[in-house]
Amino acid sequence: MHRPDLVLNLLLAAAAALYLAAWLLLLRGRRRSGYGTFAAGWAVNLVLVGVNAALAKGPPLGNMYHVQVVLALCFGPLFAVQAARSKLAWTGVYFALVSALPLVGALFMSKDVGWRRMPALQSPWFVPHVAAYMLSYALAGVAFGLALVGRAKGRRLGLEDAGRYDRACLETLRLAFPFMTFGMLSGALWAEEAWGAYWSWDPKETWSLITWMLYVIYFHCCADRRLSRYAMPAQVLAFAALLTTFFLVNLWPKLASVLHGYA
């Protein structure tokens, strides 16, 4: 194996292992060691992002492998904000688990660092646009996990537990949605500067709009008691659209996006 790839895979495995260990510790109620291990995993993750940036000689956001690593890094700070803002420290166990998942996926992705930023990507919008989307997708993933666990626990333990998880899910998505909005609309402003068109109905753009609108529908359903029973289905569809935007559009040739081909 090519030496940089070996180093990268070792760092990936170490960070993923620490995140998973943190998840197990927090699951068993060992908060001190759990959060300590979470922080250690995050530190290794940060080193990995630094190594990727050094190898790419620029922002490490040029391919799916880079994006997965940055995505994993987002969860730690987001949990800290969520815990402080909405008193949801008990959700740390879920943030630890979802931190590991992108890194496990990244182990099997090409580490090719021969990517060069073409002139259209050399814009001040590049990092804010991609970073905002990473933050929002990270939080949306956590929210979806909370919703699923809430449903499962609600069946076993009662409605109160499900309600607690639903509230956590809503608060997490309220944190995510402004980033998602900024990510989408900053892309429109950037596209106008680069190509003279805010919106080209490119598959990536269309699916990101579908995702955004489904979350808008979710929030409206949460706000109206008569529509509240549709909130969970709306969120499931929104998350499915998010996965389509994030993965399928890149990986399925027929959905391949011409304008976002470098993503």
Partner: protein
Amino acid sequence: MRLAVAILVALVAFLLVGAIPVEDGAQIVVFHTPAFIALAAALALSLVRCAFGRRWRWRRAGFPAVHLGVVAILAGALAGHLAGKRGDMVLPLTDKHVTDRIERPGGPPAALGFGVSAIQFDVAWYDPVYGLYEPAPDGGRHRLTRSVPVGPDGSLDLGPLGRVAGADLRDKATGAWAPQYRLAGGAVLALLPRTPRYYAATLRFTAGGGKSELRPLAVNHPAVFRGWRFYLVDFDKEERRYIVVTARRDPGRPAVIAGIWLVIAGTALLCFLGRGGGDAQA
């Protein structure tokens, strides 16, 4: 609230249809149908009704900001669609060739009312990158296994396969990089299409009376002249004889940009400062 949700659901259905992949792309034609435009208009009316439907205090300014921001975006987009002009120009890199019209897809050329020429062009390239194509284990076609950039010393580091010196890859007389290089063991290095690191031009605009003005033009930095915006989108990579420019005149642009920032700010206010779903009660 239920009407708004119904409109949003219908719009999502349209978007899903438009996202279906077909032979020559997605079915984006659905986004230009009267039904879709009517639905967008219904959404705009619903948003206005929601925004002005009740009195809002300043600390809840996020709600009307988001709703009116979307209306501004839709209104600006409609104005641009109805009254805007957009087209492409191929400008030879010489000040002797002056163009005064743009080519529009599916329509007649549109006059600019002034002349445009490209008088200067600069391009810088990234170092070359070679693709390493290795024979398939089953003896099938070679597969691209890795991209290998040329190093600072001009050589290629192929890891376990060793190193290829720059002198072996370049033509001694011209210095040009070899399009292909065969390695021992059957692997092949193939020069990948070069990526420009930067390119920019200078446009000369000539109006009546012989007066001319110069404007710099680069990717992500459009040139502006008399309400028209010019975007550098491509250039002749083989012989550098011309550049490709998109020209656009969009009366709805200020409304769209204002709407975008209203939605961004309003969403942040609504979600970061608001209190759960109660802020959006019908």
